[in-house]
Subunit: 190 residues, 3 copies
């Protein structure tokens, strides 16, 4: 994570953090609070809000109007589509505040446009959440899920394409090969 100052900040963005990686771009009406950390080469869309204490890895794309609350961690190469909604409260009441919950979006995972992620969940490495989903359970690595509630619908390659399995083997057009080890896991093979 870099603390260099060679990042782009739109003149109508609010950047209060000193920990923004080089090559990162922050667009209009976005707000990065003091105490948030953003990696290198990220793209933070218009209207995004990154709260204090959040860590965003390198090469992360966050499209417009996404709020990333205290308690959320976004790892390298993750993609959050437009208007993705994260949460950090399980039983909200204005007059009865409770403990802050967490969400982790692991390396290379993609969250489709306008999806909602319930608090205390982990989105696995290279998982994909289809657009408009409501995620109520943890999502295993490379899993494709969608719907409300989101349920398993297939497996995704590291490159983002859907994998077609014949028995327990799949080859992506990008050249990567995978093997299904059990109903909850796939593994890249050479």
């Amino acid at each position: 994570m870099s603390t260099e100052k060679d990042f782009f900040r739109h003149e109508l963005a609010i950047v209060e953090s000193a920990r923004i990686g080089s090559g990162t771009r922050i667009w209009a009406f976005a707000h990065i609070m003091e105490g948030a950390t953003i990696g290198k080469r990220c793209n933070i869309g218009e209207g995004c809000f990154i709260e204090s204490g959040v860590t965003v890895g390198d090469d992360v794309v966050i499209k417009n109007n996404v709020a990333v609350w205290t308690g959320v961690t976004i790892e390298d190469g993750a993609f959050l589509g437009p208007s993705v909604v994260l949460t950090n409260e399980l039983e909200p009441r204005s007059m009865f505040p409770k403990e802050c919950a967490t969400i982790v979006v692991k390396k290379g995972a993609s969250i489709g446009a306008n999806s909602t992620i319930v608090a205390n969940r982990v989105i696995g490495e290279y998982a994909t959440i289809g657009a408009g989903s409501v995620v109520t359970k943890d999502v295993p690595p490379h899993r494709l899920v969608y719907g409300n509630p989101a349920t398993p619908r297939g497996w995704m390659c590291t490159c983002g394409r859907k994998l077609g399995f014949t028995a327990d083997a799949a080859a992506c057009q990008c050249g990567r090969k995978f093997r299904l080890t059990d109903s909850k896991t796939i593994k890249e093979v050479s």
Copy 2:
């Protein structure tokens, strides 16, 4: 409802109303139109829009990116999660404008993140709408609903926790006790 001026307004918020209660905080890129009324100790998140004619009670939390249209009433202690979407048109067409509809969010109710509320609905006192729901019917007091469309899934305590009923009685860990009076009503008992 206070009209005192001792509220916090981020320097990039637009506040055109003179009726903002004391202790209320209004964050960046929010816009409170002239003729809107906001109670005391509210928290109005970034990117929120409160249209003319709206009344928001005391102790209300509205998270980021929520638009509250003319025709909507939000009572004391309500919680609107991030990117909650309210509406005031039932059959919209750009070239065929129709009458403005209403929504009432009653005292202490909570609307989960990214939920959508169809026009002409009432969300009852201390009801909870789960995240990512689409509410197409009125929600009774203390009812938990979720899904698309949202359907009844249980009952919630005043404090926001889910109640577990044994026969027609439930006790919350907060100490409150409830009795089920019929399939559509629960009542707090001592």
Copy 3:
């Protein structure tokens, strides 16, 4: 499409395009990029983002917080409700960029609040998408669809009202008459 300068721009909107039609209003925290084209008498709500290369027709209403990406076309008289989410990537991964996809919203169509439209779809003339839907297939003209995924639920008049068919004929209270020609088409008749 006009290129006159007699449109309204809120002082906190960013308008970089020279192609904005007369009578159009652009509200606070909206951003119209250079190379976007907006027709006459449109209403572009707060927090909207219109990307370079987009064409928006005349008499279009786009409510708050809608991002219209490169690859999207919005025809005359369309209505996009608050927080509608459009997309232009089918298999997003931050580190594996792919080709930009398209969406077309045809003349007079209405997209309900907080709906999500998957990339590479066409929303037909005078179709209506109910609030909170996830649209994964093309929508025929005048079709009403809703749900996640959105499925056919009826037919809509040009004026936006739901049509009640008796056998293959329907008359709207606005005076228009329609005939059902097959399971996928209705036709206005005199």
